[in-house]
C-alpha cells in the first residue's frame, strides 16, 4: 500500500431531484479524490446531501451529472468493490451473526466452507467471537454495528462507505467504536469514506475532512488532519482544529440566514 494511488475520483457531481412541483438541488459541483488507504470524513449539517453523496458512490442513487471513477471504472450501479455500513445497521434480522457476515459471499457464490472460514475471521476481527449464532435482536447497538462492519469487510471491498455508522449509538459506545474502527482500519488497510455530522468524530478519525455546505451541498473547505494516532480529544491541537471547523460551520449557518 503506497498510499498515493487514487482509488476514487469524483468530478463535478451534481444531483437534483423533483419534489412536489419543485426541483430540489441536493449536491452541487462536488469534486474530490480519495487515495488508497485514506480515511476521509464528509462533515456537514443535516440535510446537506452527505448521505446522498455516499449513496451515489455506492451506486444506490443515480447522479444527475458528473462522473465517479472507482478503481479506474465509471460507477453505474452497486458493486462489490464498494461496501456499505448503514446508520441503522440494516442487518438481516432472521440471519445469525455468522449468516449476516456471509451474505456478500453467498451472493458471490463462494462455497459454504470457505464462506464460513472468511466470516469467522471477520467476526473475530470486529471482536464478536462467540456471538456467531446470535441473532441481531439479541445484540446491543454497538455489537450490531460491529456485525455491519464485519459484513461489509468480509466481501473484501476496496472502499468502505460508512453512513453515520455510529449515529444511533450512545456517546460512550460511540467513542469506543471509533477507536475500534481505527484499529480495524489499521489491520485491514481499507480506504474509508465516513459520513458524519459530528465535528469531534471527524477530527478523531479522519486523515482528511471535507466540509459540506447546507443544501445544495458543496465542498466549502477541506482539512488535512495529520495529528498522530491515537488522538487525544483533550490535546490542544485537537481542540484548535475542532474550533476552527466549528467556526466554519457557524459561518455556513450565518450565510444561510
Amino acid at each position: 500500500m503506497d498510499g498515493d494511488e487514487v482509488i476514487l475520483s469524483m468530478k463535478d457531481i451534481y444531483k437534483e431531484y423533483p419534489k412536489d412541483d419543485e426541483i430540489l438541488q441536493v449536491l452541487d459541483d462536488i469534486s474530490f479524490d480519495v487515495k488508497e488507504g485514506e480515511l476521509v470524513c464528509v462533515l456537514g449539517p443535516s440535510g446537506c446531501g452527505k448521505t446522498t453523496l455516499l449513496r451515489i458512490i455506492a451506486g444506490l442513487v443515480d447522479k444527475t451529472s458528473g462522473s465517479i471513477i472507482v478503481d479506474g471504472e465509471e460507477v453505474t450501479g452497486p458493486g462489490p468493490n464498494r461496501g456499505m455500513v448503514f446508520q441503522d445497521f440494516a442487518l438481516f434480522p432472521w440471519r445469525t451473526v455468522q449468516r449476516n457476515v456471509e451474505f456478500g459471499l453467498e451472493i458471490k457464490k463462494i462455497p459454504a466452507e470457505e464462506r464460513a472460514k472468511i466470516a469467522t475471521e471477520y467476526i473475530h476481527l470486529v471482536g464478536l467471537g462467540g456471538f456467531e449464532k446470535s441473532h441481531p435482536s439479541e445484540l446491543s447497538g454497538g455489537m450490531k454495528q460491529r456485525v455491519g462492519i464485519a459484513r461489509a469487510l468480509a466481501n473484501n471491498p476496496h472502499i468502505l462507505l460508512m453512513d453515520e455508522p455510529f449515529g444511533a449509538l450512545d456517546s460512550q459506545t460511540r467513542n469506543q467504536m471509533q477507536t475500534e474502527l481505527l484499529r480495524i482500519q489499521d489491520e485491514t488497510k481499507k480506504t474509508i469514506i465516513f459520513i458524519t455530522h459530528s465535528v469531534d468524530e471527524s477530527v478523531f478519525l479522519a486523515d482528511r475532512i471535507l466540509i459540506l455546505s447546507a443544501r445544495p451541498g458543496r465542498i466549502v473547505k477541506e482539512y488535512k488532519i495529520d495529528l498522530p494516532r491515537p488522538r487525544d480529544r483533550g490535546d490542544s491541537d485537537f481542540i484548535t482544529i475542532r474550533k476552527s471547523i466549528l467556526s466554519d460551520l457557524e459561518q455556513q449557518r450565518k450565510d444561510l440566514l
Binding site: G59, A90, F103, G129, G130, E138, S140
Partner: protein, 273 residues
C-alpha cells in the same frame, strides 16, 4: 466487550413467569366455568327441548363418538371429513395466495391490474359462493372451495402487506453486495414476508374453519360437523345439535391456537422474537 449488555435470565424472572402462567390458567378456567353456568341457567329458565342443559349435551357428545342416531355416522368420522376438507381447501388457498401476494406486493403494474378485480370479489362472503360451488363442483369439492375463498383473502392481503413493508435499507444493503434482483427477492424480500405470511395463515385458519362448517350445513359428501348440526336440527335431536356446536367451538380454538403456535415458532426460528 464480549459480555456487552447481554441480558442474563435470573431465577426470579422465571419464577414470576410461572406465577403469571398459573394466574392466566385460572382466568381461563373461570371463564369456561362461567360460560357453562350461564348456559345452564338459560337452559333451565327457557326450559325448551331446543335448549338442552350442559349435562345432556355432554352425554350426547360422548354418545356421538359411538354413533349419531338418525345419521348413522360417528362424530369422529364426521370430524375427520370436516378436517380433511379443511386441510384441502386451506392448502389450496395457501399455494395460490402466497405467489399471487408476492407478485402483487412486488409489482406495481400487477397490483394495478389485479386489485380492482380482487376488491370486487373480496366483499362477497364465502357463504354466498356456496350454491354456485355446489352446482359447479358438487358436494365434495363445493365445501372445499368455500374454505378456499375464506382463507385466500386474509393470506393474500397479509403477504402483499409483508412485501410492501420490507425494510428498504435491507434491500439497499443487499444491492451493495451486488445482489441481482432475483437474489434480493429470494434472500431478502421473501424471508421478510414470512412473519406476515404466518399472520395471514393464522387469520385464514380461523375464517376457513367457520366457512367449512357453514358450507357443510348446506350439504357435504361424507358428512361433517356442519352436517351434524343441520341434520340433528331437522331430526329434532337438539342435544346432538348442541354437541356438534360444542365440537365446532373446541376445534375452532385448537385451530386458532395452532395458528398462533406456528406464527410464534416461525418468528422464534427466524430469530425475530
Amino acid at each position: 466487550m464480549a459480555q456487552e449488555y447481554l441480558t442474563t435470565p435470573i431465577n426470579k424472572i422465571q419464577r414470576d413467569k410461572w406465577k403469571e402462567h398459573i394466574i392466566k390458567l385460572g382466568y381461563i378456567a373461570i371463564s369456561i366455568i362461567a360460560l357453562i353456568v350461564t348456559w345452564w341457567a338459560i337452559a333451565v329458565i327457557v326450559d325448551k327441548t331446543y335448549f338442552p342443559t350442559p349435562p345432556e349435551v355432554f352425554e350426547a357428545l360422548i354418545q356421538s363418538f359411538d354413533n349419531v342416531p338418525g345419521i348413522g355416522l360417528s362424530m369422529s368420522t364426521q370430524l375427520f371429513s370436516s378436517l380433511e376438507r379443511f386441510v384441502f381447501g386451506f392448502l389450496l388457498a395457501l399455494i395460490t395466495a402466497v405467489p399471487l401476494g408476492l407478485l402483487l406486493g412486488h409489482s406495481k403494474r400487477a397490483e394495478m391490474l389485479f386489485t380492482p378485480a380482487i376488491e370486487i370479489i373480496r366483499p362477497i362472503p364465502p357463504m354466498a359462493w356456496v350454491p354456485l360451488f355446489f352446482l359447479a363442483f358438487g358436494v365434495f369439492f363445493g365445501p372445499i372451495l368455500t374454505i378456499f375463498i375464506g382463507a385466500f383473502f386474509p393470506i393474500l392481503s397479509n403477504v402483499v402487506f409483508g412485501v410492501k413493508s420490507v425494510d428498504q435499507n435491507l434491500i439497499d444493503a443487499s444491492k451493495t453486495f451486488g445482489a441481482s434482483r432475483l437474489q434480493t427477492f429470494s434472500k431478502v424480500i421473501f424471508p421478510s414476508t414470512i412473519p406476515h405470511m404466518m399472520t395471514g395463515i393464522s387469520v385464514g385458519l380461523g375464517i376457513g374453519w367457520m366457512c367449512i362448517v357453514s358450507a357443510e350445513m348446506i350439504g357435504a359428501k361424507g358428512g361433517g360437523l356442519g352436517f351434524i348440526i343441520q341434520s340433528c336440527y331437522s331430526l329434532s335431536l337438539y342435544d346432538y345439535m348442541f354437541a356438534g356446536m360444542v365440537m365446532v367451538g373446541i376445534l375452532g380454538i385448537l385451530t386458532a391456537l395452532f395458528g398462533k403456535f406456528i406464527e410464534n415458532e416461525v418468528a422464534k426460528w427466524m430469530g425475530m422474537k
